[in-house]
Each structure stands twice: as C-alpha cells, then as structure tokens.
Assembly symmetry: C2
C-alpha cells in the first residue's frame, strides 16, 4: 500500500509516519519509483506497536527506540525482547546503595522473590522499583512486613499467569507479542487500580453504614 | 511547640510551613505573643497528611485544599471525607456521553458493579475512569469481556477488604484516616503493579524456558 493508505489504515497521520521513518522507528518501504514506496502489514504492525508504547506505555521516543531495537534484533530471544519493554514501562528508579533503608528494602525484595521461587533476573530494575516503594512506606511510618506483601505477590502472580501472559501470542510476529504485553500490563494494571478504589469505597460504605 | 520545633519534628522546612499557613492548609498556631505562636500534635498530623497527599498522591495544591476542607468540615461523615481523597487521587477523566464506545463502556461498568453488589455512588468519577480504560482497550482491538474483568474485580475486593481498609483507624483523628487511605491506596497499588511485572517476567521465563 502507499503511504496515504498506510495512514488511513493505521490512523497515524502522514507527517507522523514520515517522522517515524526519519527516526528509524519504522523501516523504509520498498521504493517503487523515485517518489513512491510500498508499505505492507509489517509496517501496520509496527505503527500499532509504536502507538501502544506511546499512548498506553507513555514512553519517551528514546525508550521506544530501545524497545524497537530489541524487536528488530532477532538474535535476542522473545523473553529478552519482552524484558526490554517491561523495564521501559516501569518507573525509572535510581538505586541508593549507600542508604541503610534502601539496602534493607532491597534485601527484603531479593529474599521474598527467592522464597517465592520467581524467575527474575538479579539485574531487573523492577527489584529497585519495589525496594523504593518499601522505603517510602517505611519513611511514612507504615513499614511493610512480609505478611503485608505476600497477598499482593500472590494476587499479582495469579493475574499474570491466568490472565495476562496467556493473552500473548508467543509464536506470532515479535511486534504483536510486545504490543500485547504492554497493553495488558498497563491497561489491566489501570483496571485493577480503579477496581481497588471502587472496592475501597464499597467497603468504607459498608463499615461506616453510609 | 514553636515553629522551629514543628519544622524539626515534621521534616517540613519553615518557609514551607509558612506557605501552608498562608494558604490555609495548616491552621494558625495559638498566638502567645506578637511574634510567637504555639503548635501542637494536630499541626504535626496535618503536615503528615499534606506530605502524603503531595508526595504519595502527587496532588496539586488545589486538590489538597479540597481534601483538607473535607477533613476540617466535621459535618461531613468519615465516608464522605474518605471519598473526597479517593476521587482526588484518581485520574481526572472527562466523560464522553456523546461517544458510542464510551456509553457502552460506562454501561458495562455500571452493570458489573450492580451485579457485584458493590456500594459505589452513581456519581463516582471512578466509574468514568474504568469506562475510559475499557474504551482504550476496545480501540486497541483488545476489548475486555466481562470474564476478563471479573478476576481483577475479585482480586481488588479481597485486597481492599483484607489488607487496605483494615489498616484505617476509623475512630482516630480524621487526618490519620485520610492519610492512611491515601498511603495504602497509592503505595500498595504501586507494590501490586511492580509485583505484576515481576510475575510476568517470571512467567515469561518459565514459558520460554529462558
């Protein structure tokens, strides 16, 4: 298809498509004449992925580039590719190894994950993200005990295995796997967060007889 | 205590305390001379609440003011007061009643909550927040069925009743109830979100044999 059709099909404007082409986020089409290029389904898939990373993941272009690089580098396995997207959509946390609270929180995270038997690389920045949240809780005088965390880990694992990862087409095009992961992780995360606040309102009404 | 002690105890700088006093977020101390005022535990509690709303809830000052007004207005019951905080920490969503997708999503939300028997006011903006997320999922070609949503609702209710609302001291000072609600909702929400991504990584490693 021509760029105008690619634009119509994807809902992405022609100037934006040209920007993605210049930035290397979208591969060039097949040149059929000096002023004309043909685009195909792979371009459509790539545009959908960029849109998901941008609008749903709210990633800056630099992070989108990293994810796209992982998608394009077929030497990287699917697991590593998905990891790139995972780490990109997390909060960017600066580890504070010199801080006593931080070190203790990070130890709690590592011990808990080991105990749960989860397969998470030791270098996952998600470990730091969790550690930082534990530090914040502690500093607000609401330090989380192991027993406060376990129910969240259990609920998260159930949802991740039964409802999120089961939606990912591992055998399809690499773009589709990453797009599904990002959309499921972010949007069902939002669904869960809103449900928690709705449930809290309901429970507050029940307790207070409102 | 004097303002310098209030600052030392709360960790909030004197200029910031003076700003909160001017803005009416913090009540004036008891004037003991022309240049001196006495502050007490209620001021400390209020500063803790402001800090939680600001740093954890990431609320702008205008929203903090609304929450503080609800805290100060003892004619409002605790349930209504907590609702003010709840609605303030949510994403501010503009309802799109003219949009067909939006109307359908909002209907799904209302039916689901009715079916679950949750006590949520019909005017809760959280309903719109959930509807908007459903619209986004649909537009990305991943429309959520009732069966996709129910496990999230169930998990959310369990965590809300067993672990979040049970931490709130309903009989204590109003500030403490609101502060606990905001801290638990936001920070355990973050805990849950990070655990989901950790669980997904682990499940991806398991499925792909990485």
């Amino acid at each position: 298809m021509r760029i105008s059709e690619l634009s119509a099909e994807s809902g992405v404007s022609i100037p934006t498509i040209k920007y993605y082409l210049r930035e290397g986020l979208l591969p060039q089409g097949q040149q059929t004449s000096a002023t004309r290029a043909e685009y195909g389904p792979a371009h459509l898939r790539r545009l959908r992925l960029i849109r998901a990373l941008l609008e749903v993941g709210r990633l800056p272009v630099a992070s989108i580039r990293k994810v796209i690089e992982a998608v394009e580098d077929e030497d990287r396995g699917v697991h590593e590719m998905l990891g790139t997207a995972h780490y990109a959509i997390g909060a960017q946390v600066e580890p504070q190894p010199g801080d006593e609270d931080w070190r203790e929180a990070r130890e709690t995270v590592d011990e808990l994950l080991a105990e749960l038997g989860w397969q998470v690389t030791p270098f996952a920045p998600t470990r730091d993200e969790l550690a930082q949240t534990l530090v914040t809780l502690k500093r607000l005088g609401m330090a989380a005990e192991r027993s406060d965390l376990l129910p969240y880990a259990t609920a998260a694992m159930r949802l991740a295995t039964e409802h999120e990862m089961s939606k990912i087409p591992f055998d399809g095009p690499r773009e589709v796997a990453v797009e599904t992961l990002v959309v499921c992780t972010v949007l069902y995360g939002r669904v869960l967060d809103v449900f928690r606040r709705l449930a809290e309102e309901s429970e507050s009404a029940r307790i207070l007889g409102a």
